[in-house]
Symmetry: C2
């Protein structure tokens, strides 16, 4: 199977598949003409990667998950640990974004948004408290 069909079946762009080969995630065989030849096992790996990536796992996580996937002797605890850590990161990211959202929507709500220059958003950006780090003798 050529790369184009592998792309269709896995849902990954052709370019991405070549990139995944370059970084060693897959190792398709080659035909005599130099074309990559994807067998069913490679296509399954590509689809696995596509789904892992769509769940936000990093490439390095994907590498780990793929090796666990291929290892019949794996412990599910290893998989769960990787997934749980990623889940924590997602939760943390959501919390950060919620904080940003709260600050920003507060500013936006107070801006009348007309043709006048007066703007609480700019005022907030200009004047929000930001305590400078003190160097040796930086006075107040």
């Amino acid at each position: 199977m050529n790369i184009g069909e592998a792309a269709d079946q896995s849902g990954l762009p052709v370019k991405t598949i070549r990139y995944y080969e370059q970084i060693g995630l897959v190792r398709p065989a080659r035909e005599a003409n130099g074309y990559r030849d994807f067998r069913a096992a490679e296509v399954r790996k590509l689809a696995f990667l596509a789904r892992a990536r769509s769940l936000g796992f990093s490439i390095e996580d994907c590498r780990t998950l793929l090796s666990l996937y291929e290892d019949g002797q794996r412990a599910s605890a290893d998989v769960k640990r990787v997934a749980s850590e990623h889940l924590d990161q997602i939760s943390q990211k959501i919390a950060e974004l919620e904080t940003l959202k709260a600050s920003l929507s507060h500013l936006v709500a107070r801006c009348h948004g007309d043709e006048r220059p007066d703007c609480p958003i700019l005022a907030g950006l200009a004047e929000a408290p930001k305590q400078p780090k003190r160097r040796r003798d930086a006075g107040a």
Copy 2:
């Protein structure tokens, strides 16, 4: 004022300030010895940038906001538009992450996480449908 003190007062790393000069966000004067010389106005701009970046605005948004900040004739509507679009992006990102979180936590919850190889997480990554399952009465 040298770059180190400007960094302390603005809260930005020295490297980042040099980078901001490189991309044209600030234009500090130079002393005879080649050192950057930051005046109060530049430091205010740096602090403004630090706060805009900490709210997640892109550099290009920051460029726009900075020019609005410096333009006494601005319309607050222009500022509000930039901020509202960013707010929408944040909300959208949160929604995406919530979706990921739901999928992933479903998988993680079902994995017993012990020494056995059986693992619903890997199974989900390996077998999840590329397209949503079609129900009999859902047409298509």
